[in-house]
């Protein structure tokens, strides 16, 4: 009987396993218990803005900490705790709030080990929600993982489905480097089979989720489903697409990207982030630099436009990559 869970439930499971298996793991963030876990008042906990951390404060009292709305304080404290012996999982409610707490990640977590000549370790995990699709508008719908990907010393991962979410989060928590774990809104809404028990998905390893020989579609997080939908349509038109789920942005599985490009000679990157200085450009540069002789057509990037995220449903849907846009790119590249 396969277990079908939502991505949120899969993440909850991972957190419970982490908390149970390592006494140094703590969760902290705004509303992660939610409601202060006040049993006596007859109120129930929220368990996070999306309910992802529900139930944990009861099972692990004293290790699931609600914080004030102080991103700088939360992240900075989490970095300090990580450097001094804990293994904290801090929640940054929306990656859009990165602007409020960039320093602890950029200048502290990412650099302590390097600046101290290898003597420090910051085994911090930052869980954060990214992406559009819930009509949350410009300041709550961005996909800023390209920023953290570009900071040396940080790792950034982004699962595309519930099973990977569980395994990748456990890997992130157990990794001794600071890891940004992105929960894309488009992925949070998914349900899928999730294996029982404790398992990890290796960081730095992409996955071919659909094999094909005619064109490679590189996707991440919420766009993996878009790429698969496009692949299905393309197959009916006689083009077999290979879909590569990156899963990990830093470290990036360059070998997998180049191997697929060598196989197909054509590559499209599908990313729901904005176009400048992003993952799509990064992958395209890799192809041109190290996969030049494999290229039978230009590398195409299907991304959001260079705009903030709009509110109205019709606008937000136009903002996001779609299977149609991917197919058009494949046709255009020749």
């Amino acid at each position: 009987m396969p277990r079908i869970l939502s991505t949120g439930q899969a993440i909850n499971e991972a957190l419970a396993i982490a908390l149970a298996s390592d006494p140094d793991v703590i969760l902290l963030g705004e509303d992660v218990a939610g409601g202060g876990a006040r049993d006596g008042d007859g109120v129930d906990e929220i368990g996070g803005v999306f309910g992802t951390t529900k139930g944990l404060v009861k099972r692990f009292p004293g290790r699931v900490l609600d914080t004030p709305i102080s991103e700088m304080g939360i992240l900075g404290t989490a970095v300090g705790a990580a450097a001094t012996g804990l293994r904290p999982v801090a929640e940054l409610m929306f990656i859009d709030f990165l602007g409020v707490c960039l320093d602890p990640l950029l200048n502290q977590a990412a650099k302590l080990r390097y600046m101290f000549g290898g003597k420090a370790r910051v085994p911090l995990t930052v869980r954060t929600v990214s992406g559009a699709g819930m009509r949350s508008a410009a300041q709550h719908s961005q996909s800023l993982y390209w920023m953290t990907t570009g900071i040396p010393g940080l790792k950034t991962v982004i699962p595309s489905n519930p099973a990977d979410a569980k395994g990748l989060l456990l890997a992130a928590i157990r990794d001794d480097d600071p890891v940004i774990f992105c929960e894309a809104k488009g992925v949070l809404m998914l349900r899928g089979e999730v294996p029982e028990g404790d398992y990890t998905v290796p960081i730095g390893q992409a996955k071919v989720v659909r094999a094909g020989g005619d064109v490679t579609l590189v996707a991440l997080g919420a766009t993996v489903a878009v790429a698969l939908a496009a692949a299905e349509q393309l197959a009916k038109q006689g083009t077999e697409a290979e879909v590569l789920d990156l899963r990990s942005l830093q470290p990036l599985d360059e070998a997998a990207i180049l191997a697929s490009l060598e196989k197909t000679g054509r590559l499209v990157v599908v990313d729901e982030s904005t176009p400048r200085c992003g993952i799509a450009s990064d992958v395209a540069a890799l192809c041109v630099d190290r996969g030049f002789d494999f290229l039978n057509a230009p590398v195409k990037r299907v991304t959001a436009p260079h705009t903030p995220v709009p509110f109205a449903a019709i606008l937000e849907d136009a903002f996001r990559p779609s299977a149609e846009k991917v197919i058009a790119a494949v046709r255009e590249m020749g």
């Binding site: 140094d24 703590i26 004293g62 290790r63 900490l65 914080t67 004030p68 102080s70 700088m72 304080g73 939360i74 992240l75 900075g76 404290t77 989490a78 970095v79 300090g80 705790a81 990580a82 450097a83 001094t84 012996g85 804990l86 904290p88 320093d103 602890p104 200048n107 502290q108 650099k111 302590l112 080990r113 390097y114 600046m115 101290f116 000549g117 290898g118 003597k119 420090a120 370790r121 085994p123 040396p152 010393g153 790792k155 990794d175 001794d176 480097d177 730095g204 470290p251």
Partner: protein, 322 residues
């Protein structure tokens, strides 16, 4: 804690070492032998040493860009620091950090920090670790009057008080935030006042007086270790040099500096007090002066002779695992 002879000798030695270390750096930079931004702690010795005299291996200290004094006070190896400042492979951070990022995790020194205020949440995190792991340790943040205007200061104090963390926040109010007088940018007369917003305990100490700092810090650290929560300890002090080596101090009234330098020198004050009270004698102190000078000279010579890092070190120690 008792003011034993050993404790006093150690305190003097450390303060003298800080003073000599900083002045040696000033010479080296002006002679063109040392590079980078260097921020000297001379004048503030009593604060670092007065607080750190209460700390042990359980405790963590987070510092600022003006961090050499806190390092020395926490027992960090001077030769390693000097080699680091000379950018050598034998440096405390293998030449990768420099003055503003000197650290020694083995001695509970979470590092100097190039971002104003950034050490405050780090020390708060160390206090959280101590509380959760029940180590009995404390997390101490040293920072300046300027940092007390940073958001991270307020957020950290708020969180620490909510959770009653075993933390000590030492604000070294030396009257100047970089090149701006403190009173231009801090509306309260005493920064310790700010603790009231967070219902946090506070105290004010004369930062030029080792004994006053020692007593007030001891009370605060005792409270923290007993689980009674954090304290904001304001130490009124003065920095004898500019914001950084090379700062011409054009913005600071000469007379003010002279007053503090000549009349309020913490080392002079300590010496007068211990001699008057018969706790130590002049020979003890001169002997320590000699030791410090010799150790410092040796450190400089060793650093100048030490090998440079290999260019391949650029890419090491970024991650624990690839």
């Amino acid at each position: 804690m008792q003011l034993t002879r050993d404790l006093l000798l150690d305190a003097y030695r450390k303060m003298r070492m800080i003073r000599c270390f900083e002045e040696k750096l000033q010479q080296l930079v002006l002679a063109g032998k040392m590079a980078g931004f260097l921020h000297l702690y001379a004048g503030e010795e009593a604060v670092a040493v007065g607080v750190c005299a209460h700390l042990d291996a359980r405790d963590w200290v987070a510092s600022t860009h003006r961090g050499h004094g806190h390092c020395i006070a926490k027992g960090v190896d001077v030769a390693g620091m000097m080699a680091e400042l000379f950018g050598r492979k034998t440096g405390l951070c293998k030449g990768k950090g420099g003055s503003m990022h000197i650290a020694d995790m083995d001695r509970g020194m979470l590092g100097a920090n190039g971002i104003v205020g950034a050490g405050i949440p780090l020390a708060t995190g160390a206090a959280l670790t101590a509380q959760i792991k029940k180590t009995g340790g404390v997390g101490v943040a040293f920072f300046g009057d300027g940092a007390s205007n940073q958001g991270q200061f307020h957020e950290s104090l708020n969180m620490a008080q909510n959770w009653k963390l075993p933390a000590l926040y030492v604000v070294e109010n030396n009257g100047w935030g970089e090149f701006t007088p403190t009173e231009f940018v801090v509306p309260v007369a005493d920064i310790a006042e700010r603790a009231r917003s967070y219902a946090m305990a506070s105290a004010i100490a004369d930062g030029m007086d080792f004994f006053d700092v020692y007593e007030k810090a001891g009370q605060a650290i005792g409270r923290a270790r007993r689980g009674e929560g954090p304290t904001l300890l304001e130490c009124k002090t003065y920095r004898f040099h500019g914001h950084y080596v090379g700062d011409t101090l054009a913005y600071r009234p000469k007379q003010q500096a002279e007053e503090w330098n000549q009349q309020r020198d913490p080392l002079d004050h300590f010496e007068r007090r211990v001699l008057e009270a018969g706790l130590l004698d002049g020979d003890d102190l001169r002997h320590l002066d000699g030791e410090v000078a010799a150790e410092l000279d040796a450190a400089v010579r060793a650093a100048e002779a030490a090998p440079f890092p290999d260019p391949s070190d650029v890419t090491t120690d970024v991650y624990v695992s690839k």
